[in-house]
Symmetry: C2
Subunit: 745 residues, 2 copies
């Protein structure tokens, strides 16, 4: 796989791949020309604590800290509010546009059903889908490729400590929102929920910095938060707010953020994340209640709402639990199949479909095929059901059914996927023929699989739920035909949906809570949990989760929760990169420029040593660049220039887009000057002795959010440096510890 992984980047662009395998220094990629490279940087948490920073902290009074804390709460409230509003916009626009679309097609079909010529309806449907998807796909492919897909893998990486360039920019947000509207309205087998998580994260990154580089507007507030640690905390709040708005699941949102992002559990942070989530779901709920003209009816907390599962009707019994577990296993197998197919498809896309125009064409093809398949399925279905005034369908298609009846295949295909899911959960027994459901599952499975990975903004949650709900309901119908005690297939639809989703994404704790919150019934907690657990165990046997596959295909140095279990025999000495480029405390400018320009020393942090090789600090590439840019030099003679003293503000203003070393001009004279790093380096970097075991090193990295760990011998001399990539190489395969070949990013 290493051959492949070396050639991939988030945008899946072939023309950008040349350099990746050749060891170019991929730092500061975010400043390189757009579309030229898509690389992953790591966030830096650990080494902010230099003398300037400590001085500021020491100067700050108790009141100062309190003000900071209040600002954090304020920002989180704002994140929740804006995320909620974005969710509202998406929801309302999608509903409106989809309404127009389905209304138009429905009228058209009704007109042509009697007289013949339904092919015109098909063409109308296909063209409508086609156009919407084209707009969405062009936006994504040409303007912001990182907005493709659900964004969850990118956010997972970001929260893990790997920075995907441009992933939290305003432009990405705009493209994402427009893109998701287009793809959902365009009738693709996608959901609008996943992208909410990404949107929330972007909102958070923007609001917390108090400025927008894209809009070139700096409000001069929240400057304290312009560093990786703080920004990441807010981004996790934003992601939580996104989940919360998408599923009406504030607690699930918090758990999602923690599951994906938390390293060290911080109570105040969690509490703020929860606040953002609450505000987000409340805003969505409130605005939608006004929009639907029943202000104050807070029963729509999320974009998707599973409807109310009343425990009286939908009870389960102890003896049903084995059935649920079996369904979980089915979900695991089907999920793994989905992932394998999608993996192959992704490899194919990486190799052959890498130009934006090709990507747009593929998306349009999928849109057309989706419309055609849906139409064909509806056309040839003869599953007619009486129109029920109570459970009125939104767009009932009569087609060839008798008067007062409607085509039940159309309830699943001719509808937004969210509504289809809800119908599958709650419609009366007997609403669908088993054949209808079977055919629907089959076609939708392949459509969804084909769709994921297209250059459109779209999520995989809802299609997964829909597939699962369909075969789950099928199971329910089948069980009901065996014995009448299993009367309600809706319950099995829910379990099937959970199993399928779990089998595909393999999230565990947070997904249980999200689903429980979406059903609004805690009674289903245990079955859903068991189902997700089974799906995960079974699915993991065959293939990784969908997000992990896509993360791995980018060869991101993603750190899992714990070091592989069997890695105790590895020590820091074996894992570390060595030799390390060290800098002297007083170093020649020329040396520093050479080190930074040298493509083989592509580390982000450099140990600072006193002779002989004794560690006295650690300095970051970004800090050195700011120093060079401001020419903080000491002349060779030792007489200090009347240079302006560098402030913490200078570092913050440069954050997060530090210029590349190539853009900084250093004259030959200046090369001979010296730089005193004492004030700017972190004087107390984390160190470990060389015999430290890998799990211990790993734990330090994960628990403290480290980026660089200096390995020293017993006289405190630098002998190596462990970076995130050194750790991410080790991986527990089926047969024990494996070493991955990560791309040279």
């Amino acid at each position: 796989m290493s051959n492949i992984t070396k050639k991939v980047s988030w945008s899946s662009r072939g023309d950008e791949l040349g350099a990746a395998g050749e060891g170019t220094p991929l730092l500061n990629g975010s400043e390189q020309p757009r579309h030229s490279r898509q690389v992953q940087l790591s966030l830096d948490y650990d080494n902010i604590e230099n003398q300037l920073f400590l001085e500021e902290e020491r100067r700050m009074s108790f009141t100062g800290f309190r003000c900071l804390e209040i600002s954090r709460w304020l920002i989180c409230g704002l994140i929740g509010l804006l995320t909620g509003l974005i969710a509202c916009v998406i929801d309302i626009v999608v509903e409106k546009l989809a309404g127009y679309k389905y209304e138009a097609i429905k009228q058209n079909i009704e007109r042509f059903t009697e007289v013949g010529g339904l092919s015109i309806s098909l063409i109308l449907w296909a063209v409508l889908n086609f156009s919407f998807v084209m707009v969405g796909s062009i936006l994504v492919a040409f303007f912001e490729p990182v907005a493709a897909g659900s964004g969850i893998p990118q956010i997972k990486c970001y929260l893990n400590g790997v920075k995907v360039p441009r992933v939290v920019r305003l432009k990405t947000l705009v493209v994402k929102v427009c893109g998701v509207i287009c793809s959902v309205v365009g009738g693709l087998a996608v959901g609008k929920e996943g992208p909410m998580i990404h949107s929330g994260a972007v909102v958070a990154a923007g609001v917390s910095q108090g400025r927008s580089t894209t809009l070139k507007k700096d409000l001069m507030i929240f400057e304290y938060f312009r560093r990786d640690t703080e920004k990441r905390d807010f981004v996790s709040a934003g992601a939580a707010a996104g989940v919360s708005a998408a599923f009406g699941a504030p607690v699930g949102g918090v758990l999602f953020s923690l599951e994906e992002g938390a390293s060290f559990w911080n109570q105040m942070l969690t509490w703020r994340i929860f606040f953002a989530s609450m505000i987000s779901t409340f805003t969505l709920n409130f605005v939608l209640s006004i929009y639907h003209n029943n202000t104050g009816d807070l029963s729509n907390p999320g974009l998707i709402n599973f409807g109310r599962f009343e425990s009286e009707n939908l009870n389960y019994n102890l003896y049903e639990i084995p059935l649920f577990i079996a369904m979980g296993a089915i979900g695991g197998v089907l999920g793994a199949l989905f992932n394998v197919l999608n993996y192959w498809l992704t490899i194919f896309r990486i190799r052959y479909v890498h130009r934006p125009c090709l990507q747009v064409m593929e998306a349009m093809l999928v849109a057309a095929v989706t419309a055609t398949v849906s139409f064909t399925m509806i056309y040839f279905s003869n599953d007619c059901q009486p129109l029920d005034s109570e459970h009125a369908e939104e767009y009932p298609l009569q087609l060839f059914c008798a008067d007062g009846e409607y085509n039940s295949m159309a309830t699943t295909f001719f509808n937004t996927p969210e509504r289809s899911v809800r119908s599958l959960f709650h419609n009366q027994p007997g609403t669908w023929n088993p054949l209808t459901l079977g055919l629907f599952t089959l076609t939708y499975f392949f459509l969804a699989c084909w769709t994921y990975g297209l250059a459109v903004s779209a999520g995989v949650f809802i299609p997964s739920l829909l597939i699962g709900a369909a075969w789950g309901r099928l199971c329910g119908i089948w069980l009901a035909s065996i014995a009448s005690i299993w009367a309600d297939p809706g319950k099995y639809a829910l379990i099937g949906a959970a199993a399928q989703l779990g089998g595909i994404v393999r999230m565990t704790l947070s997904l249980t809570v999200i689903l429980v919150e979406a059903t609004g019934n805690v009674t289903y907690g245990l079955p859903i949990m068991l189902v997700l657990l089974t799906a995960k165990i079974v699915g993991d046997y065959f293939q990784e989760g969908l997000y992990d596959i896509h993360i791995k295909l980018q060869s991101v140095p993603f750190l899992h929760w714990e070091a592989p279990a069997t890695s105790h025999w590895l020590t820091a000495r074996e894992v570390m990169s060595s030799p390390v480029t060290c800098l002297n405390r007083i170093e020649k400018v020329g040396t520093i420029v050479d080190v930074l320009s040298n493509t083989s020393t592509n580390h982000n942090g450099f140990p600072v040593v006193m002779q002989p090789a004794k560690l006295c600090g650690l300095i970051l590439r970004s800090q050195l660049i700011v120093l060079l840019k401001h020419k903080v030099f000491v002349e060779l003679a030792g007489s200090r220039l009347s240079r302006r003293k560098l402030q913490l503000k200078d570092f913050r203003d440069a954050y997060p887009r530090f210029p590349p070393i190539q853009s900084i001009h250093v004259s030959q004279d200046e090369r001979e000057c010296l730089m005193d790093l004492t004030e700017f380096m972190n004087p107390t970097p984390y160190t470990v002795p060389q015999e430290t075991s890998l799990p211990r090193v790993f734990k330090l990295f994960r628990a403290l959010g480290l980026r660089h760990l200096v390995v020293v011998d017993d006289a405190n001399r630098v002998i190596g440096l462990v970076t995130r990539k050194d750790l991410a190489r080790y991986h527990l395969g089926k047969y024990g510890l494996e070493e991955l070949h990560l791309a040279q990013t």
Copy 2:
């Protein structure tokens, strides 16, 4: 306060206090004679990784790790099951006994209402309460003082890393369960929910070790888990299962454990904790449904059930939110008042009520007073309400009311507190006179305050909810009299209950989720959160939370989440203990015995050095004791004795009750032998340079669960040792950083 804090221990026994202030080495206290000392030890997480351990880990195959993982799941399932069953037992026994009691008193009152002589009823009531409380109190005071109270402060300490002796023993569990039944049936102003958390923790500690030292039974399973890290993980699962069973809140339970216990968020662990919680609430629900003869009706997930809040009836509007926040502020003030009063009372108790017999007498006095006050209130109340067949009261007292009416004061006083809370939430508007509610709030407030801290097993959750629900409903009635839009006082009862509970215990995230899960309605999430937040902010202005007060009174080295904000100017050098007792790698037995016996070197860990003072490892007191016990000596001549090679098993068998150094006899000859510590010490202890700032040291401690951190200079020479107590000293007071004087424990 430091004068006081020095004199307190968990059992609040005066006769044990003498030694505490005098710097006796309080290690291995758990092995000292019962009742003689109640000390806190710290758990050790960090230093297990010695050569023996690493060898075992390296020998272990991939399958071995998988088996361990499966055992962990098994244990968690078992913990959930047993905790659920214990909750069932408590619930059923309390309901039965309380039923008999109230039935008997009711009949007695009815008999004497007409003919006069109600004083006989009062005496009957008082005597019944009296006897139950006496039994419970004797159990606690004489047999296991650590079972007093709710146990939540103790579990908080345990999860924080401080070990309270005997807190997770089987005997404690038995006393706790019997004690809580007696005190609830005895009519005290207490709940049975808090103790469930402690019970769950004890179950977990027992099950996970595969043996009971009390019963002298070793099943020889789960030996791998016989160390602090693993045991603590299981205890946090147990605590979560306890919360889950108490409130029907599995997610709340997980969050409780995380809030109180987690340092490093571990996904698999959290998932297992969730599993235990789910099983626990499911078991309780299932067994109770069988008991109540409607098998499969899973609507009683917890000991307390707030009943169903239907969103149609009990909606809230945006303009009500300021009202909720105001109620939160009231809750904060009342909670702080409660805490201040209880603080004084506790000080009084520590000084004067320290003998078991006095404690029992106080408990009996409170029982009698509670009965008398309740009776008086009911007797003089003339708030009669028509008997409503729909909302039938469990024990309606007619007393002096007309036929078909009942005394409404009796619904609050003449009932288990859980039922009273539910009535306050759900009864029709107009069920109570405002006067009745006001009087009830006032008396119950003082009764509850007096009760908390008695030598009985009992929780403070339900009384707090009850007080809050009463004044909340009062607010609701008052609002309804102003404008009819605030029609339903039940909603305000809920908000008041949340405010009062939040004001007393100051839990935040987990409490919100617990309350939301208990109401079964996610719509109330935002108001409850805002109310709890307000209550916390307002309350913290006056006084700490109740649990924190009690923890502080024990002068436990409890570490909060973050270092105080203004502590950046402190460095490791200023914080550390120095000089440190170091041991040589090959050390004389006599020296080791002297070091361990020396009362002034009461550390639990000792740096191991090579000459000259260069750090090469860290060894724990417990490890040294095991080595001494097994006489792992090297003779002076250098010829090794044919000693048995010490196995990891020897350490595990001794865990957790290591013998005190006094019990180990070392002859004069043996004193001259040498001990080679190389194999047993942790060869790579965590170290920091002396300039490291306090927040950074703090973060290392919290994130990695450290116990000892060696401070070294730039040549890796030991210059100090930071322990948990060194960090716990610093505390953010109202006016900035304060240094506490912790007792010399």
